[in-house]
């Protein structure tokens, strides 16, 4: 039974996403849309972490001693310089994808376990994670030409 391990992974990933969103907001305060939206998206991830807590407790007891290297560092910012915004957004996009994949994996397991609560959490949180990804994709597409060509 590895559900506990994966819940740990999504929990860790959401925590790192919260941390990255904080850092990006802090570093790029002169980009008001990035600043404000990162704070909004952080509140979503914090809410996800609250939903996860009882589930982590529930499945934590059965957690296999799987090595913890499931986790990899995706966010390397915040950076400085003319490519900083684009590269930081790039990393955060990857982080949201990491979280999204965790929800997908866990939702599959939830169905097999007939755990409706876990399934509901995966679906609801997954919807918001998708919106997080969509924001960063939109913002990255906007920033890319100016950052790469004209800066």
């Amino acid at each position: 039974m590895h559900v506990g391990n994966y819940l740990g992974l999504v929990q860790g990933s959401e925590r790192r996403l919260v941390d990255a969103l904080n850092k990006v907001a802090g570093q790029h305060g002169d980009e008001p849309d990035v600043f404000e939206t990162c704070q909004l998206l952080r509140s979503w991830s914090n809410k996800h972490l609250e939903y996860l807590e009882p589930l982590v407790r529930k499945y934590g007891e059965n957690r296999d001693p799987e090595p913890s290297n499931l986790e990899t560092a995706l966010f390397h910012g915040p950076r400085q310089g003319s490519l900083a915004l684009l590269r930081d957004l790039h990393d955060v996009w990857l982080l949201t994808q990491q979280v999204q994949l965790c929800w997908t994996v866990l939702e599959q397991a939830a169905q097999a376990l007939r755990d409706e609560e876990l399934e509901r959490v995966c679906q609801e949180c997954g919807k918001e994670t998708k919106r997080q990804t969509a924001f960063f994709l939109t913002r990255i597409k906007q920033a890319a030409p100016q950052s790469l060509v004209a800066s």
């Binding site: 002169d30 849309d33 939206t37 919106r131 906007q142 030409p145 100016q146 004209a150």
Partner: protein, 816 residues
């Protein structure tokens, strides 16, 4: 010897011509002339977004007055105080008459050849080294359609830059965004005619009595007649409009979504939705129902301060009215959750099925006379003809029309919005910024930042204007522009009604029309199509109009049935005008089919909270196929809220006697005398708390800057202060007074419209006798203003504003 049909300074709206819902709006011709005209020339008023038809009186080559056009559907002869007076600005002695080039730090007169040659040389050098991503345009809501279209084509298919937007971003971007969200495309569903028969009018964040005085006259005439409509006003101040309200809701600033969700909740609770309409013509209702469930009147009162009983009264009216016209403006567009809130007004109409029917319509208002055309023509963050930047077929249509390769037209993401254009200029990646007919040094948020950007060594600033505005002072090249009555062109009002405005007099000196300037630039840049022919194939307003018609064929804003000749017949005509609708279209969506089909829509939509774009694939997967889209939104608190350090809310806005930064209205003696200076309006409660008396000098500070204004007490909620945004420094550099010294650099996630309607501030009585300003923030602000005006009037800081303030010469209050 001036003759006038009324003194419109004291009698703003004029005599009532009452009528009931079954009678037409009577004609009343307003006129004001300084001498008897030799001839009258057909024009259209440009002093607000209403678009009143008029004639321009001319004598000896000068404008001597205006007269309302009795046959025009928009105004039936009426004109407001701004329109009746502002024409004197054309003949101001301080008009710009020659191009200027900055040499050794000073703006010096130059020839057109030198000025245009320099702009072209810079453009080519920047494009060569940095691509056209180094060039940006910040245009206006006050040029003519023909000028916007020419600018749009030369920007998109000539230079190929995505960096073009208008000051319409500050005024009507949310109107367009909200219409796109709900109906798939820009274009106001209703017409002004719906006001003549409706049972209920709702003004949301729209002080129509001050902003569109003639449109308000239309409502006053109904209120004075049999079976008057009920009036619901949502506004934190007791405005002229609110004085006539059946129900006036005064929410805390930034809480529009909470209040509107509360109204939606009450309509649903009352069982007053139209299930058949919802089922046949909309998508998304279930989500809305679920979202607004918790917005009970009590909960809304907690969030917004609107008493539950008052919300219920408004809810009862909205649940029972048989017809409804809503108008929305800056109180929504320039506040928190702008698009989300504007969309909830659309939703009120959709859940009650009150759209596309006589007496029912939505007017997502514009602020400026030609803002609709900035949007239609693609001189802002939209593509011409309401085309969708993320629909490859739409880009192909434009490429074919302009005969350029598809990849010439930037469409990899939405055209860059104004706030981002300024950000790129701040960061240095935009190196040439061409500003036309707008005054960002007074009208943008956080003016200290804007001044810094305009002064950047690596930014080449071109300003095209009629006057030496606060912005023009920072320019590297100033181009003197002809204005209204000095050139011919067309433009479109909120009611989609297209008007023509003709050249009546010659422009002063060497001033040229904006169209001629753009055509000259295109020719000098040698923009070509893919067959080597000139890209711009027109040469004057009428040929530009004909080219534009081709661009609109088959689109919602179809102009193909219009000609200059048709527009000269005595009235404007509302689009679409085509073979099917040769006389125009008063009301859209009377068949309840909305332009949301994936291949036709202007947008695939956005996430209302984050602004994330919906992809083509996602949209097509759930193609609304002609149904209107209901999108719900949760209330979110504004980003900056009052705290211990800055305990009050600031909101900014407009006055009846002025338009924008008073470039024209400030040059009419009567208008200027009526509203001679900025002020800070505060409640009696706050005045008592701070020991402030009427007329005292008050220092208002935010985290971004400060202003010094005289106190005006009353007609506003406690905890909130108001400053009109019109006043800058060209005619009074003696103190920091522009409201936008205080405002915030941030914007709505979907419409990208900046938030001017809230900021946290602190106030204190400013003892002018304390003489020279304190070091620190105040000193820096005064220094900035002095620097701004350097070379002009040298005014010792802290001295001239100790004189008694100018008293308004009007019997009306100036804060209404």
């Amino acid at each position: 010897m001036t003759t006038e049909t009324r003194n419109s300074i004291n009698d703003i709206w004029g005599e009532r011509t009452p009528h009931g819902p079954s009678q037409p709006w009577p004609v009343r011709v307003d006129e004001r002339v300084s001498e008897t005209p030799e001839r009258w020339v057909r024009g259209t008023c440009v002093l607000c977004s209403n678009g009143c038809g008029l004639d321009i009186g001319v004598r000896a080559g000068k404008i001597v007055g205006v007269r309302g056009l009795g046959s025009d559907v928009t105004n039936k002869g009426r004109l407001g105080p701004k329109g009746l007076h502002s024409w004197v600005a054309n003949d101001s002695r301080d008009r710009l008459t020659k191009p200027l080039i900055r040499r050794n730090g000073q703006l010096q007169e130059a020839s057109w050849d030198e000025a245009m040659g320099l702009i072209v040389q810079k453009s080519k050098a920047i494009a060569k080294q940095h691509t056209s991503l180094g060039i940006g345009f910040y245009t206006s809501g006050q040029l003519f359609l023909e000028e916007y279209y020419t600018l749009g084509v030369l920007g998109k298919a000539g230079l190929g830059t995505p960096h073009m937007d208008g000051n319409t971003r500050l005024c009507t971007a949310t109107a367009a965004a909200a219409l796109k969200v709900s109906f798939g495309s820009d274009g106001q569903p209703g017409g002004y005619e719906d006001l003549d028969t409706t049972d209920c009018v709702m003004h949301v964040g729209h002080n129509i009595a001050s902003q569109q005085t003639v449109l308000w006259t239309r409502i006053l005439d109904r209120l004075a007649g049999p079976n008057p409509p009920k009036v619901i006003v949502i506004d934190p101040r007791r405005t002229f409009t609110a004085e006539h309200a059946t129900v006036h809701l005064a929410p805390k600033v930034g809480t529009n979504v909470a209040v509107l969700n509360g109204l939606l909740h009450l309509i649903i609770q009352a069982g007053a939705t139209d299930p058949a309409f919802l089922d046949a013509h909309t998508t998304g209702y279930d989500d809305l129902k679920k979202t607004v469930e918790k917005y009970t009147p009590e909960y809304v009162e907690q969030l917004s301060g609107v008493p539950a009983a008052e919300l219920r009264r408004a809810g009862e009216i909205l649940a029972s009215t048989r017809t409804l016209v809503s108008s929305i403006l800056q109180g929504v567009y320039q506040s928190m959750q702008a698009t989300a809130a504007a969309v909830q007004v659309n939703n009120i109409h959709l859940i009650r099925g009150l759209i596309g029917k006589p007496g029912s319509g939505i007017l997502q208002m514009n602020g400026q006379p030609t803002a609709q055309n900035t949007r239609e023509c693609g001189a802002d963050g939209d593509l011409p003809g309401f085309r969708n930047w993320s629909n490859p077929e739409h880009i192909k249509e434009l490429a074919k029309l302009w005969n350029v390769p598809v990849n010439k037209i930037p469409h990899w993401s939405p055209p860059t919005h104004a706030m981002q254009i300024w950000r790129y200029a701040e960061q240095g990646s935009i190196k040439l910024l061409w500003i036309q007919a707008t005054n960002p040094a007074v009208s943008m948020p956080e003016l200290g930042r804007i001044r810094k950007i305009l002064q950047k060594e690596d930014l080449f600033v071109v300003v095209q204007d009629a006057f030496m505005t606060e912005t023009a002072r920072y320019a590297d090249v100033v181009l003197p522009a002809a204005i209204w009555a000095e050139k011919t062109g067309t433009f479109t009002n909120v009611s989609r009604t297209v008007h023509i405005s003709c050249k009546a007099i010659e422009p002063p000196g060497e001033a040229r029309s904006d169209l001629d300037i753009f055509l000259d630039y295109a020719q000098r840049m040698d923009f070509r199509d893919q067959d080597g022919q000139p890209l711009i194939k027109w040469h004057d307003p009428e040929s530009a109009f004909e080219a534009w018609k081709d661009c609109t064929r088959g689109r919602p804003c179809d102009y193909t049935g219009l000609t200059y000749e048709k527009l000269m017949r005595g009235s404007g005509v509302p689009w679409p005008v085509n073979a099917e609708h040769p006389d125009g279209t008063v009301r859209l969506y009377s068949d309840f089919v909305f332009p949301t089909r994936a291949d036709y829509a202007e947008t695939y939509g956005h996430d209302l909270e984050t602004g994330a774009a919906v992809s083509r694939e996602e949209y097509k997967a759930n193609d609304p196929g002609g149904k209107a889209i209901i999108k719900a939104a949760e209330y979110r608190e504004p980003h900056e809220v009052p705290d211990e350090a800055y305990p009050l809310w600031l909101t900014t806005g407009r006055q009846v006697y002025h338009f924008h930064t008073r470039t024209k209205t400030g040059r009419s003696k009567e208008l200027q005398d009526a509203a001679p200076d900025a002020f800070v309006q505060l409640s009696a409660e706050d005045a008592a708390k701070y020991g402030i008396g009427e007329g005292d000098w008050i220092l208002v500070e935010s985290r971004r800057g400060l202003v010094i204004e005289r106190a005006m007490i009353g007609n506003i909620e406690p905890g909130l202060v108001f400053i009109p945004f019109h006043y800058g420094y060209w005619d009074d550099p003696s103190r920091p007074r522009a409201a936008n010294e205080l405002t915030i650099t941030e914007w709505d996630p979907v419409s990208k419209q900046p938030h001017y309607k809230y900021a946290a501030v602190k106030i204190s009585k400013y003892d002018a006798r304390a003489a020279l300003p304190q070091p620190g923030l105040l000193g820096r602000a005064v220094e900035a203003v002095q620097q701004l005006m350097s070379g002009e009037k040298e005014v010792p800081a802290g001295s001239s504003f100790t004189s008694p303030g100018l008293q308004p010469k009007t019997t009306q209050r100036v804060d209404g």
